[in-house]
Symmetry: C2
Subunit: 353 residues, 2 copies
């Protein structure tokens, strides 16, 4: 099979972790007789530096033509304390989501037996956790009308959802639930927000099409609590853009494996795969960043975008092996144990595939 | 001193926990030579049942005339799965906040040494946690224009803030920070929302008036993570209404003492004190609910509304003593240990003041 993949390394540690994911993907391709054509493109702060915008049209065209996008991370400290700057890396992210129609962000949180003691939660609370958030990614308050009134003294943001937007996200949620334990939780704030009431009534109306799925409706504040108390009581959760931003990040830290969590963004055009961690600027160029989340994002890409399940499994197996054998970067090392560099971890994965 | 207190017991376990707080308050008043005049009033589902609305005008007048309001909890299961019902208990809550001008919700999260092992977090993560959220409570998306368009197919909610609204909340935050470790965190989503950018620029402009306070600005998703990872790295946090709803609930479960957390809502008129837990309908009338959060809310009332610090300290001391000696309701009991009823805990507190 020929796989055309757009490669958006981004900023900070992005290029380093992407590099290892490419090495592992190429080794898998070789082993299973595929050919990968990687097409690199600019996005984020490095794109602003090079061409003045964070998501150049050329990058968009490369993504549109590709079969999948593998993405590193974006962001640079020079923009951190200036969220009102006219041009910022995050704008590229939002524009990319919108233009690629990436309306569903798939964010699993699961545990690795060998890492469970890294969790801030007690073992008995976190053990067995295996949940997936589907976060709506191209609507809501992120993309609604916003601005100032009264000579700048009043600011406003508008959250808007259409029934069709809710339906297409919820459909993915029901379908995913059918492949898992058939439990779906719709997270909203229907006791306060009209958009949430639209979410709830829309999902309720879809229940009859998936009679095997048990649906629960929970308020976002209650879910923020229960994620810390009993994370393993959840399976598939669907929610709107801003709630998803907050809750998926909260969920990511409970497992103790934040540095290992992959994600996918899917929708109307090419799907995109990326680690959930950021660009970690302080570590740029030091060859210390953990490449496993990006490697596991590549595994997600093989499985979801190309339906190459054996290839994905092979990647996950070798990652598990590296964890068990302690071939890990410093963030995961047990005190006093030897640690490996970003590229050493990648080399080990390739050698042990 | 004569203390005029409006007593809003509300629904579910509200009346039971309020009853114990009244007993303890009366005992304190007697000991310190104060006279408390309690004026009960209806709110929540019980007000809907009695007079058709959840926050009757009569209740509002009683609150306006009082020196403080002590509040139980509201909510009834018959409204739970119907967030679009025309009349609902929460509307009473929102109306009460708006009409009393309760623009700042003060939500501490702290730990009790004897309860630390109840936390879902590991001891070393939670020990020493002592933070306070100031949540804006009468603005933002809760109260902005909302509705439907396109024959009901599109829903919208508007989040609005004025500079003056941000200033009055932030002022309380700076002042509170000055009485504590002088650390203030402004939580926003300024990389996406215009209202957040207004929050950030307003708080930034106020920094010069409080040169001793160190202010940090963090995105809401990052705070949702760090609250689980390093809760004791925070002190005072200020944020807008919806973020505050989610984050204060998240923060409340990390301590392991959720059933003990008091809160205050303060603003333009009478201040209100209430436990953060809900109406816990399943336990109604069983005399098993934990009254300590309400008792500690009464302590907050003595200290903040009446500046009666010794009285507040006396209440907190006896609560600590009850915890140390295991005079607790079943939710806090160590497996196998004797548990006490709601009223037995109250009686013990009164007897040991
Ligand atoms: C950088 C920011 C705009 C973005 C978001 O809020 O969506 C990020 O937090 C994320 O979750 O991908
Ligand atoms: C009941 C609901 C409207 C309310 C809110 O969202 O403010 C509650 O969750 C709270 O935090 O007091």
């Amino acid at each position: 099979m020929k796989l055309n993949i757009a490669l958006l390394a981004g900023d900070g540690i992005g290029p380093e972790v992407i590099n290892e994911a490419v090495k592992v993907s190429d080794a898998i391709a070789k082993k299973f007789n595929h050919e990968i054509v990687w097409t690199p493109a600019l996005t984020g702060a490095c794109a602003i530096d090079a061409v003045g915008v964070p998501y150049p049209d050329e990058t968009h065209e490369i993504c549109m033509k590709a079969d999948a996008v593998l993405f590193g991370a974006i962001g640079h400290p020079k923009y951190d304390n200036n969220p009102s700057a006219a041009v910022r890396p995050e704008q590229g992210l939002l524009l990319m989501r919108k233009k690629l129609g990436l309306f569903a962000n798939v964010r699993p949180t699961f545990t690795f037996p060998s890492l469970i003691d890294n969790s801030p939660l007690k073992r008995e609370r976190i053990e067995g956790t295996d949940l997936v958030f589907l976060r709506e990614l191209t609507g809501g308050i992120y993309f609604g009308e916003k601005g100032r009134k009264d000579h700048g003294e009043t600011a406003f943001d508008t959250c808007t959802y259409t029934r069709a937007e809710v339906q297409r996200l919820a459909k993915k949620g029901f379908e995913l639930a059918m492949t898992r334990t058939k439990k779906l939780c719709c997270v909203d704030k229907a006791n306060v927000l009209e958009t949430s009431r639209l979410w709830r009534e829309t999902v309720q109306a879809m229940e009859k099409d998936y009679p095997e799925v048990t649906v629960s409706y929970e308020f976002v504040d209650a879910v923020a609590m229960r994620l810390v108390q009993w994370p393993n009581s959840y399976d598939v959760l669907i929610t709107e853009n801003l709630f998803g931003d907050i809750l998926t990040d909260e969920a990511s830290v409970i497992s103790g494996s934040m540095g290992l969590m992959p994600s996918a963004s899917v929708g109307e055009h090419t799907s995109l795969y990326e680690p959930i961690h950021g660009s970690y600027p302080q570590a740029t160029g030091l060859n210390i960043a953990n490449p496993l989340a990006t490697v596991l994002s590549a595994a997600m890409m093989f499985e979801d975008a190309f339906k190459l399940t054996a290839e994905a499994e092979a990647i996950r197996d070798v990652v598990n092996k590296s964890l068990e054998q302690g071939i890990v970067t410093e963030d995961l090392a047990i005190k006093g144990a030897k640690t490996y560099s970003t590229s050493e971890v990648g080399d080990w994965l390739v050698a042990n595939l």
